[in-house]
């Protein structure tokens, strides 16, 4: 049975600004859904609508089959982890974790049992008497999660919970969140702007752009078959190389003098893309085009080469190549590349849809 259903959900503010035009999403029980998109895309608004912190102006929101549009946040049986954790600063860790249960009239003995069980699971036993200000960022994060877990809600909501942590801790907490969610099997809706976080956590991803779901699918679906240039550019790091091009009888025309042979029924303006990791260095005679090297980023395990296409046009088109291992090509020299047709992504320039 599906757990959370968004049916034609929309949000228009009183001043007429439409944050979310219409959105359909069915979340299965125990599924980990990540809402991802650039800032201002409406992902947090959508999450807050599910939480009940923002009103829903259109459509239905169902949790376990019940319509909850008009219900108070407390009556939706959800728990939320906020970006700044929103721990009550004047209460101890124990106080923070037990607050929700206390408000629901749970007996003291049961509260103590539940809080202690969750504290043990999260390694917070030693910290129960501390105040939030005496905790490190990672510990606060854990307390915020503990507060959500204690109530054993139907749905977990996460609003960019890792963005206040340093990079190393973020990777660790990411793994912990994933493991905990698997262990508890609680349906989860998670908002982030970080595509790596989104890819690693999600069962399914929802890529949002201006309040519209550009694509919904598994991380690998989105990586292999992005539905729109927006998704293609958003998923993967560094970003996919995208070019405005034309499909003609001769193939893909990146410029007047540069053609890539491809038999294709479609004719007209397109967006052509290839991921940096799918470009390969080849000999001059096998190459599809040459790249003039402008910058090299050596990361050890991989090397990113930034350059412009040498296609005879006045304005060079910027491109990134991702090479495994260390490389040290000379600046301003030419790199001969092949772009295998199996890795091409072609989108209609007008409809912005994958062809």
């Amino acid at each position: 049975m599906s757990d959370v259903v968004l049916k034609n959900i929309g949000k228009t503010y009183l001043n007429g600004f439409c944050a979310i035009p219409s959105m359909d999403l069915t979340i299965e029980e125990g599924e980990f859904i990540v809402l991802v998109g650039p800032s201002g895309c409406g992902k947090s608004t959508l999450l807050r609508m599910v939480a009940g912190l923002e009103s829903i102006t259109q459509g239905d929101l169902l949790i376990k089959g019940n319509k909850v549009n008009e219900k108070e946040p407390a009556d939706r049986d959800i728990a939320m982890v906020f970006q700044n954790y929103a721990l009550y600063p004047h209460m101890s860790v124990y106080g923070n974790m037990s607050y929700g249960l206390k408000n629901r009239g749970t007996s003291k003995a049961v509260i103590a049992e539940k809080v202690n069980a969750v504290a043990t699971m999260l390694g917070l036993e030693e910290l129960l008497e501390r105040k939030p200000r005496e905790l490190s960022g990672g510990q606060r994060q854990r307390v915020a999660m503990g507060r959500a877990m204690v109530r054993d809600p139907k749905v977990f909501l996460f609003d960019e919970p890792l963005s206040n942590l340093d990079a190393k801790l973020r990777v660790q907490m990411r793994m912990e969140i994933r493991q905990l969610q698997r262990k508890l099997g609680t349906t989860t809706l998670y908002v982030t702007h970080d595509q790596v976080e989104a890819m690693t956590l999600a069962d399914r991803l929802v890529v949002l752009n201006k309040g519209v779901a550009e694509q919904i699918g598994t991380p690998m679906d989105l990586y292999n078959k992005p539905a729109t240039p927006f998704v293609a550019a958003f998923i993967g790091s560094p970003s996919m190389n995208l070019f405005d091009a034309n499909l003609t009888e001769k193939g893909v025309s990146l410029s007047e003098s540069l053609y890539l042979p491809l038999p294709h029924a479609h004719r007209g303006s397109i967006v052509w893309g290839i991921r940096p990791e799918h470009l390969a260095i080849v000999d001059e005679q096998d190459a599809d085009f040459a790249l003039e090297i402008l910058a090299v980023e050596s990361l050890g395990a991989e090397t990113l080469v930034h350059g412009v296409l040498k296609d005879g046009s006045v304005q060079g088109k910027a491109m990134v190549v991702r090479l495994a291992g260390p490389h040290n090509p000379e600046l301003n020299s030419l790199l001969w590349l092949s772009a295998p047709a199996t890795h091409w992504h072609i989108f209609d320039a007008i409809t912005q849809q994958r062809l």
């Binding site: 939480a51 946040p73 407390a74 970006q83 004047h90 607050y99 408000n103």
Partner: protein
């Protein structure tokens, strides 16, 4: 930041106006009061006699002085608590208003600009037993209002008149305090199942405690020392001794009773109280609890 002046004279020159004001209007009179407290002076100020601690001995054996102390305590705590509760209520309401927020807030701040004596006169007229609208309305409601005769009613009047002015000040601080409470905490509490009332008492009010404590000290100091104008314009300390606070008594004994030595002794006691309250206030401001 330390600024170093090339000449030694300039800093002193810049400080001079403030130092002069302090010396002429505070240090000199304070010294005079301290000196006078040890003398007994005749009503015309023509002769005086050194009497040592006699003024203080007389003061602390006078039941009227203890009565005045009690009156001051009742008055001050009533003003502080009433002023703060009303201000907090208004601040909570103003914080919820979305449209015309600034208008409400400005209107609520206005009373602070009214001089204490004027505020006193205003309330004195409203409560005048023979023609004041509030007194007449109370009369028709069955309450026989006459603060010239009833000491408790006189106390209520001075408390209201003094509180009214202070509400604006308290309101500003409470509003700022409320706006500093992160929204996400309130949201987290509402997800945690706390009702609006419960959210206020278990989350918002505890987070306001630094503001509340600061205002308590400020309001007590105000009620102790800055309400002379209000009392003088409404009840003049009466009827009987019922609204004769320590500060008003200094004036009454000194300038009406012409017991200059006794009045000076009372001033010295007041100075000591101000000193203690100031220390408490500074201590508190230094240690101001910060929630991050």
């Amino acid at each position: 930041m330390t600024v170093t002046f090339p000449q030694k004279g300039l800093p002193w020159l810049l400080l001079l106006p403030q130092l002069l004001v302090t010396a002429i209007f505070f240090l000199w009179p304070a010294e005079q009061a301290l000196e006078q407290a040890f003398y007994q002076e005749d009503a015309f100020g023509l002769s005086r006699e050194f009497v040592g601690l006699e003024n203080f001995v007389y003061l602390f054996t006078d039941p009227l002085y203890y009565q005045s102390m009690l009156t001051t305590l009742v008055f001050s705590f009533s003003v502080a608590i009433m002023g703060m509760s009303v201000a907090l209520f208004l601040a909570v309401m103003a914080d919820r208003v979305i449209r015309g927020k600034l208008t409400y807030q400005t209107l609520l701040i206005w009373p602070y600009a009214v001089a204490p004596a004027l505020a006193g006169v205003l309330w004195w007229i409203l409560f005048d037993p023979s023609m004041g609208p509030i007194a007449l309305w109370l009369g028709s409601a069955g309450v026989d209002w006459n603060h010239y005769l009833d000491g408790n009613q006189a106390m209520i009047l001075v408390v209201i008149a003094s509180t009214w002015k202070q509400i604006s000040y308290n309101f500003l601080f409470f509003l700022a305090g409320l706006q500093a409470v992160p929204r996400s905490l309130i949201e987290a509490a509402s997800i945690d199942g706390a009702s609006p009332v419960k959210r206020f008492w278990t989350i918002v009010f505890p987070l306001l405690s630094p503001t509340t404590f600061f205002l308590l000290v400020v309001n007590l100091v105000y009620a102790f020392f800055e309400t002379f104008g209000v009392i003088d314009a409404t009840t003049k300390g009466g009827p009987g001794q019922s609204t004769n606070t320590l500060v008003y008594k200094v004036f009454e004994d000194g300038f009406i009773g012409l017991d200059l030595g006794g009045s000076a002794a009372q001033s010295v006691v007041l100075m000591a109280i101000v000193g203690v309250l100031t220390v408490i206030q500074f201590r508190f401001i230094e240690r101001k609890v910060q929630y991050s």
